[in-house]
Point group: C2
Chain length 510, copies 2
């Protein structure tokens, strides 16, 4: 096979290939031997190319393939177990979401369970007493996802209890004897998914129900956004509200209560000075903010931080979409007040979600008695992986930034254009795409169905209790709780139909 011969067109090469197939009985012995060697070499070459391609597609499957060959049946009954929390971080950009799905193996959970099974830390998913803190969608990342699960233990039950006992020497020794869960799992997990720490918990502890706080971060380029206006609008979101107009209503799965509480929300520029990156995590004075603002450009990065106990499906991305419209000056900050006023505005106007790429489940909290166990060597390994990812993306970003600098200079010099438009315009990629017809005010747009209509739809299909709304109201009165039915959306298994619903329509098919 001729390679790299760019003088030949594809059709000529095809002809050559056909010509080569001379009948074998016409070849001499010598020619036959040479032909065999040549074909074997070509074959190996092609195999190598194909093997490379398959390897690119499968990350953990390789490991499983090797492992299955060596496995004798594993006798779990010989080992004790313990209930633990695992803290994990994952870069979800190239995954189809956190939750296992039928039609793809490229989910966080799938890789996690492959790793747990391969390392014999669990016998099966069904018997592992597994709960997860949050469920992130396709493309979304997390730095503080937590799961509760029962794992194989090297210690007997007595030693497990002694870890927190009075005898410090004994408990320290016991802790070191335990399986190094973090290290073992990280070696078989893909590098985008890493365990950070673990800690022992009581049998009944649930990563899902015992979570006291969830904090999301959303990283975006400043572009032309007015951060001050975005913060003004953001503050209206604080407190207990009905957020049905700022989420995707998951009625099909029994979610009919949209009251949640946003405890904190803040948007800030990220300080450019690397050395002071700790300051990025502190509250800044107005003077400091002004100074940062002056030094910033369209290419500066911002971060929005939103904190609450529990969130609705797509709530953060809906919020960011509206805040971007406010930041662009297309809507007033007061639009938030309208969207939260479900009495007068029970139907959500149609608008697109903000991109999933910048979203990260950044911090989750549990009761104070939870003591995470960190291991230096294991953590160093995670840091190394993350540094590699950072370098790859920052190298690319830096390279592109350079050409943008040159191209933007060209644009300014070209006489027949308005250079001012350029900066930041397409950096608004995170919100709605620009429409040639011009911007349409939110409250003038077609509206999605209201809650009652959606409930009717599912009641008719016998998938919901006809009295669900009344029961919800009763429960709310009795408990004075706002989230008694489903404290941890979007944890519930998604209805297949709603999962593939057209987000932009966000309406019940008629």
């Amino acid at each position: 096979m001729e390679l790299n011969d760019d003088k030949e067109s594809c059709s000529v090469r095809e002809k050559k290939k056909r010509l080569k197939k001379v009948s074998v009985d016409k070849l001499s012995r010598e020619e036959l031997e040479a032909r065999v060697l040549q074909l074997e070499a070509q074959n190996v070459q092609l195999q190598n190319i194909l093997t490379k391609k398959f390897q690119e597609e499968s990350s953990v499957l390789k490991e499983i393939g090797k492992q299955k060959k060596r496995d004798k049946p594993f006798d779990f009954s010989k080992y004790s177990k313990r209930h633990v929390l695992l803290k994990l971080a994952y870069l979800g950009w190239d995954y189809q979401g956190y939750a296992i799905q039928d039609n793809t193996s490229k989910t966080i959970e799938n890789n996690l369970f492959e790793a747990l099974l391969m390392t014999k830390l669990i016998e099966s998913r069904e018997t592992s007493n597994y709960h997860r803190c949050g469920r992130t969608d396709k493309g979304v990342s997390a730095f503080d996802q937590v799961i509760s699960i029962t794992l194989r233990s090297r210690l007997n039950l007595g030693d497990q209890k002694n870890e927190n006992g009075d005898d410090e020497t004994l408990s320290s020794a016991n802790m070191k004897k335990e399986i190094d869960y973090v290290d073992i799992l990280n070696k078989v997990l893909p590098s985008e998914i890493q365990i950070l720490a673990w800690c022992p918990v009581d049998e009944g502890f649930s990563a899902r129900f015992d979570c006291t706080k969830r904090k999301y971060k959303y990283f975006f380029p400043k572009g032309n956004y007015n951060i001050e206006l975005m913060n003004k609008a953001g503050q209206y979101l604080k407190g207990p509200h009905d957020y049905r107009n700022l989420c995707k209503m998951d009625v099909g799965n029994g979610v009919v209560n949209f009251k949640r509480e946003i405890k904190n929300i803040n948007i800030t520029l990220i300080n450019l000075d690397e050395r002071d990156s700790e300051e990025n995590h502190c509250i800044k004075s107005p003077e400091e903010l002004e100074l940062i603002e002056k030094k910033s450009s369209s290419y500066s990065m911002c971060v929005a931080t939103i904190e609450g106990k529990a969130f609705l499906w797509h709530q953060v991305r809906c919020i960011m979409a509206i805040l971007f419209l406010v930041g662009e000056g297309k809507e007033d900050p007061d639009i938030i007040l309208q969207l939260l006023d479900v009495e007068n505005y029970p139907r959500k106007p149609q608008y697109a979600l903000a991109s999933e790429l910048p979203l990260n489940l950044y911090e989750t909290s549990y009761e104070d008695s939870i003591e995470w166990r960190w291991n230096y060597r294991a953590l160093l390994y995670v840091v190394t992986q993350m540094q590699t990812f950072w370098a790859q993306h920052n190298i690319k970003a830096t390279m592109v930034r350079h050409i943008l600098h040159d191209l933007e200079s060209c644009l300014y010099k070209l006489e027949d254009g308005d250079g001012e438009e350029v900066c930041g315009q397409s950096l608004g990629l995170l919100g709605e795409p620009h429409s040639k017809k011009g911007y349409r005010q939110l409250m003038t747009r077609p509206k999605c169905s209201d809650l009652e209509t959606r409930v009717d739809h599912y009641v008719k299909r016998r998938r919901l209790d006809p009295n669900i709304l009344d029961k919800e109201k009763e429960a709310a009165c009795e408990n004075h709780k706002t989230d008694s039915l489903d404290p941890n959306i979007p944890d519930q298994d998604k209805d297949k139909e709603t999962q593939y619903e057209d987000i932009n329509k966000d309406s019940i098919p008629s």
Copy 2:
């Protein structure tokens, strides 16, 4: 041969292959014939699988498929042509290199020609009088690649000439009438490959042979590198030298002259202050440099700029590999002097190339009479595309930077480790991976074959003229030129064998 049977381990498959490779001279005539037929069949099977995969990969091909159904045959004879230069930029990270290859459709050139054919700007590649300025490898990007090519024109020959005529009104009108090459191509090209500008040239103009200067940039994180030492070593590279120990010798393709000239080389930190990003392109005083150094961290970005008329295969990546070793303190800057001293060190020590990701063919130059034609609207489109890429990568980098900040704080707090080690260690991902055996000095390592041995190897296989080295010396004396035989490496077609050579060995199989 079983394909895609991931239940078999790799070692079992290997054994199967070895069993099959019985020595050909031990086979009977019958067995040989059978073997040829069997291998041919397997070959076809593999080819088909690969072809399917290419079709999945190829973006533009789908369009062509649709297009072909609708097309009436296009009558090129109705149109005049003109010889032009096209300036293009591409992000090569996800491509298999610039040059068209048999085993993949994911090359820059393939996409370029699909676009040129689809838009009927050329009739076929063979008749398009095509030359390219530089040929970049897999993963490498370019912001100033130039090609010369003959395209369909809307103007008659007379109007083409008038564009640069005395009558300004007429020439301006003519220029506007011409096909908007940039716009038309960019709409069908993938967004990572974009035309920036075009300009008319005389029939004989060659993007390859008429290029007067090529400048590469290499973007990398500062990590623990000593930039001052790297620059000291870099300066030794300037001037005319024999760079055989700092490249991949392409002897199989007739490259036996390794004398080139590096006109400029400089490594600098990239200024953190976005507003002053223009300054990144200016020379800085020692005081400015010191100030920048103080504000920098392991996560600051640096750029190496290397300029010459022509470069050898992998020359820049070899240079960066050595400079990284110098920057890490593993080699003295003087190592460069040794590597350039081909009299005393005619054989290259084995070392790995630096990563291809950060490399960019940043600027190419032609004679002054070349006037690039820029179009505001088209350029705005390119800027928009690039801003999207920048945003995607910077969002990811920013997100990862944040978790690194948190994780590194954890590491510092853990008592049983040395937090100081962490910063920058794995940011040296671009050079050699750390070996557990420890670092081995370059000049103590196994060496690759020297030039004469390689020439012998190919002469024996009758692929090179036995007198090639002598002829080279004569030519060099007569012309006083250093690059008379092949001015524009790595443009030449790569030898099949060297393409699949193990880069790390970089030696002729014995």
